[in-house]
Amino acid sequence: MKKIKLSIMTLAIALSIGGAFATSPRQSQDCQAATQYYYNGSVYVLAGKMGIDYLCATSSNICTYYKVGSTYVPCMNGVYCTQNCKTTTTPPKTKN
């Protein structure tokens, strides 16, 4: 009985830790580690730090992009916003 208990627990621990390592993005693949840009309708602009300089509100749109060579590739989903995120306009941010 103890053997069964021990194997269930060992399996659970191994699966969870292994799963966490397997699904964590490697530094090179993690787009969030790269400099983030947002598209203001005509050009790509430096976004700053997520949660401090800007927010990504829920949406199926693209919130921020990162640069690969000279191409801007989508990174975070959502709507880029800095203030009054309900209406998703982009004047200076005042969170906090």
Partner: protein, 150 residues
């Protein structure tokens, strides 16, 4: 190992997998976790406290669920934490906050907010089942011990 014990062990294992996976993922990508925490509609001044307490609590609950002696406390703590997460997900869905943050990245984090709510409710249910079964199991073992002395 009777049926009840098998179910109890399975519930514990599922909760351990959830909490350990969630906490290890957070620590493995800590900078991203800080960013995502800042993106939540909570004051940014809470972030330094939350980024350490949430994963630490998750690890503590996992450890408590492993051992028979601390399992009940583990189930209760798991119920409390999952209830808090569920209330938070429900508050977001009910537009209680100024905006709805994106739930982006990771495996669990790829869920939408309604999916998050259902997912959390499932684990709230598991924690409740764990508490009930653990109590019954404790009563059962106490009565067996008493009977053996008669």
């Amino acid at each position: 190992m009777n049926k009840r014990q098998v179910v109890l062990e399975s519930i514990s294992a599922l909760l351990i997998m959830l909490f350990l996976y969630a906490s290890v993922s957070k620590f493995l990508d800590f900078q991203r976790f800080i960013g995502e925490m800042n993106n939540q509609p909570l004051p940014n001044s809470w972030t330094p406290f939350l980024v350490w307490t949430v994963p630490s609590l998750e690890i503590a609950i996992s450890v408590a669920l492993i051992f028979e002696r601390t399992r009940m406390a583990g189930f209760i703590a798991s119920l409390a934490l999952m209830t808090l997460f569920t209330i938070y997900a429900a508050a977001i869905l009910l537009h209680f906050f100024e905006y709805v943050p994106c739930s982006c990245g990771g495996v669990i984090r790829k869920l939408t907010w309604p999916q998050h709510l259902v997912f959390n409710l499932f684990f709230v249910g598991l924690s409740v089942a764990g508490i009930i079964l653990q109590r019954r199991s404790s009563f059962h073992s106490i009565s067996i011990t008493k009977n053996s002395f008669v």
